[in-house]
């Protein structure tokens, strides 16, 4: 199978280039994209990419495979390869450090900005803050995010304004804390988001929903945040 990989080593290359590699695929076995990268790395140690758990839990190996973002470790070759060819590129829109490794600083900065932790100054009544099963259920589809950045780096609004638009991943987490009945900072959180960029740059393109390897729906969470902002303003 022909694998075309984005290569860039700032120490030796003047510009990035695509390297075509013919990989002998083992018979009768469907590999994950990460397995194929590992096969290539056995022959060429200079190929760089991030990976850790290799089972879709850590969120390290987000990359762009045949034009669609996803986690290489849980994306079967049979699912992405077209005409026996696979093009692998780093996540779009972020600065490339080397090969498939991108600089995620701006992504984390937006995550940090939404204060991704419970804010509550009332002393807990018992040993912990209990939640009813109904209140807990409101966090389903929100807390599962592994911050792989597949969504935010597939979002044109995030490409154009990564400094100002929080992006789908950050906004999903913003709503995770807005929806949590144990959090007391709802109004401060909303005030932080009520500008024309942070939330409202979402144009409902829904690339985030289509790529999320965890099957989460950031667009829906953004809609909830917008509703909260609207009902607060009217």
């Amino acid at each position: 199978m022909l694998i075309s990989i984005y290569r860039y080593n700032p120490e030796t290359d003047r510009e990035p280039y695509m390297q075509d590699i013919d990989v002998d695929m083992p018979e009768g076995k469907d590999l994950m994209v990460l397995d194929v990268l590992n096969l290539i790395k056995e022959k060429d140690e200079t190929l760089s990419y991030r990976r850790s758990c290799r089972e879709g839990v850590c969120g390290s190996d987000g990359m762009n495979m045949n034009g669609k973002n996803g986690l290489a470790c849980i994306t079967p070759i049979s699912e992405v390869a077209k005409n026996n060819k696979l093009v692998v590129r780093p996540l779009p829109g972020l600065p490339v450090i080397r090969d498939l490794v991108v600089d995620m600083a701006i992504f984390y900065k937006q995550y940090e900005r939404i204060k991704p932790y419970l804010q509550n100054t009332t002393p807990a009544s018992g040993r912990e803050r209990l939640q009813s099963p109904e209140d807990r259920a409101k966090l389903d589809g929100l807390y599962e995010c592994i911050l792989c950045a597949c969504c935010s780096t597939s979002c044109p609004s995030f490409w154009w304004n990564p400094e100002k638009f929080v992006g789908p991943a950050g906004l999903l987490q913003a709503y995770r804390f807005l929806a949590d009945n144990r959090d007391e900072a709802t109004s401060e959180r909303l005030s932080e988001l009520d500008d024309p960029f942070s939330v409202f740059r979402c144009r409902g393109i829904m690339n985030c929903v289509s790529v999320c390897p965890k099957g989460l729906n950031p667009t829906k969470a953004i809609g909830h945040i917008r509703d909260m902002l609207l009902s607060r303003a009217t």
Binding site: W160, D194, D195, P196
Partner: protein, 116 residues
């Protein structure tokens, strides 16, 4: 909180509501105009047209539509410019042109509507 001085209302919710409301006004205005033209259009005379446009309600409605167009165009084009124009000077120049054009349209529209 991201701050920006050039947008319409400085609040995302505010812009969002104005954008939707002005869209509704413009849609209603378009329907009325197209509807009226469809009913009277084939052998329309200047007097008929003037009579229609001279009625107080259509003047008020037209003024509302002009104001809605101004707000809608500004919010929309400000958004487009801040998405795609990364060069600050270019963006400010573009928005300046837009602001002047919108202003001209409003003043001109008002003078046409209420000047005769």
């Amino acid at each position: 909180m991201v701050t920006s001085v050039l947008n319409y209302g400085r609040s995302g919710v505010h812009d969002w509501i104005v954008q939707r409301f002005s869209a509704l006004v413009l849609a209603a205005y378009t329907l009325v105009m197209v509807g009226w033209l469809a009913m009277n259009g084939s052998d329309l005379t200047f007097l008929q047209w003037q009579g229609f446009m001279g009625q107080t309600w259509i003047r008020i409605f037209s003024l509302l539509a002009i104001v809605a167009m101004a707000a809608h165009a500004w919010i929309g084009l400000w958004t487009v410019a801040t998405d795609y124009m990364k060069h600050r000077g270019l963006r400010v120049g573009f928005l300046g042109l837009i602001a002047i054009s919108i202003f001209v349209y409003v003043v001109w529209g008002v003078s046409i509507l209420w000047g005769f």
